[in-house]
């Protein structure tokens, strides 16, 4: 029987992870990269939880920045 092995294609998340590590310029060793890759899946799940479907664009980021008022304008 003729068996054809095909390399499993990288997922979009795999490609993103590899690209970020490479682009970071940080010399992460392969064995440590494997641990980071596992954590990356969990981190992306957590990052997804911070999105709220239908959230208004009026929901702004923290912290807010406000220039300090001149003394004469202070309440």
């Amino acid at each position: 029987m003729d068996v054809h092995y095909r390399e499993k294609p990288m997922s979009a998340q795999d490609r993103m992870f590899e690209a970020i590590i490479e682009a970071s310029g940080v010399p992460v060793q392969d064995n440590e990269k494997a641990e980071l890759r596992k954590a990356y899946t969990t981190l992306m799940e957590l990052a997804a939880r911070t999105r709220v479907p239908g959230r208004s664009w009026e929901v702004r980021t923290l912290p807010h920045y406000l220039p300090e008022a001149p003394d004469e304008d202070a309440p």
């Binding site: 992870f17 970071s24 940080v26 980071l36 939880r49 911070t50 929901v59 980021t61 923290l62 912290p63």
Partner: protein, 470 residues
């Protein structure tokens, strides 16, 4: 009060009555450090000669009628993250092993002005980045005085261990995700993360820009109040410092809780994470004790803990990575393995991840503010699990298990840990008590009332654990 040493309040009274001198108290601390710290490793550096000189000066000043306040002549110590002119500041990292600042951190300036005797620099997880301790950084990890087989918690690991073991009367820690409150809980002491901006962060090596807080750790809440009084206040050297008046934290600390409304965020440790029964009983018991003192205690609800955890796990590593990016690129091998990989996690997010998390943070802040409009303070557990075993093999334990201190880092509210009881394993259990922005005074008042009513502070560790050599 700690069974090993007097409390700060007791020592301050005894020094003024002539029953005690700063020199004698300092010598007691140095003796205990010499006896126990070769096992506990709470200190990176002990400055014995400098401490003795400062104690002699304090005694001379007090004898001459110059009283700098309740910390005058009191032996304290600091986490090794504060700039200290004339000393190395390492944050327990080989990356900073030769770093010496040319000026003092504001917290050190204020403690010196208050006449405190500074005993030395205390242990920390490398670059204060949470998780479990590592044997790889330059200094060995601090051991939990209650049981050397359990972790101290961190990153203010040495601060927690030193106070619990009676190696100083109080310590400074820093907290961006629980680094004061976790070691306070695991070591059975009190620890306050003030409102963000209440205490200057100038000269505190940063982990993040939007969460870092400097705060006191001591055996009692009353002692934390005395320390906070000395270090709080506006500082133009810290752009995140608040121009907000500092109230007297001690004046109202005995006022009790009658009439106060206290919310218990119970779902954090029951529904969102199933903490063991001994922890649930201890934290529920805090509410019951305060109810017995006349407070109106009610259960309150906010978003599930995992939502708070998710925001924290994006923001804290992302900010930490930004701070360390260049050094990670050029000195990767110099960092300890645990620290560099934890920092690297923060480099894996996209900008949009960070911004979405900051938006979610705003929504969560609004929720907690709404609860605190109705309640004077809220209570929840200080830790979700029993004190973990001393084991550094798991690189990222803080990703999968939610972090219970993080909600009050995200919101910036003041949050204090008190000893709430003991677990079935004999280890201390801590409760968090949080209040409105800038209202540390009410948090301290409620915490002190609980401590006095609960009577849990007489029990001190048998150093190292049962039969551990005390």
């Amino acid at each position: 009060m700690s069974a090993f040493l007097p409390s700060i309040a007791e020592a301050a009274a005894d020094i003024r009555s002539g029953a005690l001198t700063s020199a004698a108290l300092t010598e007691t601390c140095l003796d205990r450090i010499a006896r126990y710290d070769s096992d506990i490793h709470a200190y990176h550096v002990v400055l014995a000669d400098e401490a003795r000189a400062a104690a002699r000066k304090a005694d001379e000043e007090l004898a001459a009628g110059m009283d700098r306040g309740p910390l005058h002549g009191i032996p304290l110590a600091l986490k090794d993250v504060f700039y200290w002119k004339g000393q190395k500041t390492t944050s327990n990292s080989r990356v900073m092993i030769d770093f010496e600042a040319d000026e003092d951190a504001t917290a050190i300036v204020k403690l010196k002005e208050a006449g405190a005797v500074l005993l030395g620099q205390l242990n920390t997880y490398e670059f204060t980045f949470g998780g479990r301790p590592s044997y790889l950084p330059p200094f060995p990890p601090a051991m939990n005085p209650w049981n050397f087989a359990r972790i101290t918690g961190g990153s203010s690991s040495g601060s927690g261990a030193a106070v619990a073991a009676g190696l100083c009367l109080g310590a400074l820690g820093t907290d961006a995700g629980g680094s004061i409150r976790l070691p306070a809980a695991f070591n059975g002491i009190a620890g306050m993360k003030p409102t963000i901006g209440r205490v200057s962060g100038f000269g505190d090596m940063p982990l993040t820009y939007s969460f870092d807080c400097v705060g006191p750790m001591a055996w009692t809440t009353h002692d934390c109040a005395l320390m906070l009084q000395a270090i709080a206040g506006y500082d133009p050297r810290d752009p995140g410092s608040g121009k907000v008046p500092v109230p007297d934290y001690v004046a109202g600390i005995e006022d009790g809780v009658a009439g106060l409304k206290i919310g218990v965020i119970r779902h954090f440790y029951t529904d969102d994470f199933a903490s063991p029964l001994d922890i649930v009983r201890a934290i529920d018991g805090v509410g019951q004790t305060l109810s017995g003192l006349g407070a109106k205690v009610t259960e309150v609800s906010v978003s599930p803990l995992i939502d708070w955890h998710a925001v924290g796990r994006v923001l804290v590593p992302a900010e930490a990575y930004a701070i360390h990016e260049e050094r990670l690129q050029t000195q990767w091998e110099t960092y300890g393995k645990l620290a560099r990989n934890r920092l690297m996690l923060g480099g894996l997010f996209r900008a949009v991840d960070y911004i979405q998390a900051q938006r979610r943070r705003g929504e969560l802040l609004a929720e907690m503010n709404a609860v605190l409009e109705d309640c004077d303070v809220v209570i929840t557990t200080g830790t979700l699990t029993p004190t973990p075993p001393f084991d550094d093999s798991e690189p990222f334990p803080f990703i999968d298990v939610p972090t219970i201190p993080i909600p009050f880092n995200l919101t910036g509210h003041p949050c204090h840990v008190v000893r709430a009881g003991f677990g079935d394993d004999g280890m201390p259990i801590g409760a968090q008590i949080a209040g409105r922005h800038w209202d540390e005074a009410t948090v301290l008042r409620v915490s002190h009332a609980f401590e006095m009513a609960a009577g849990l502070l007489d029990r001190a560790p048998e150093i190292g654990g049962p039969g551990g050599g005390q």
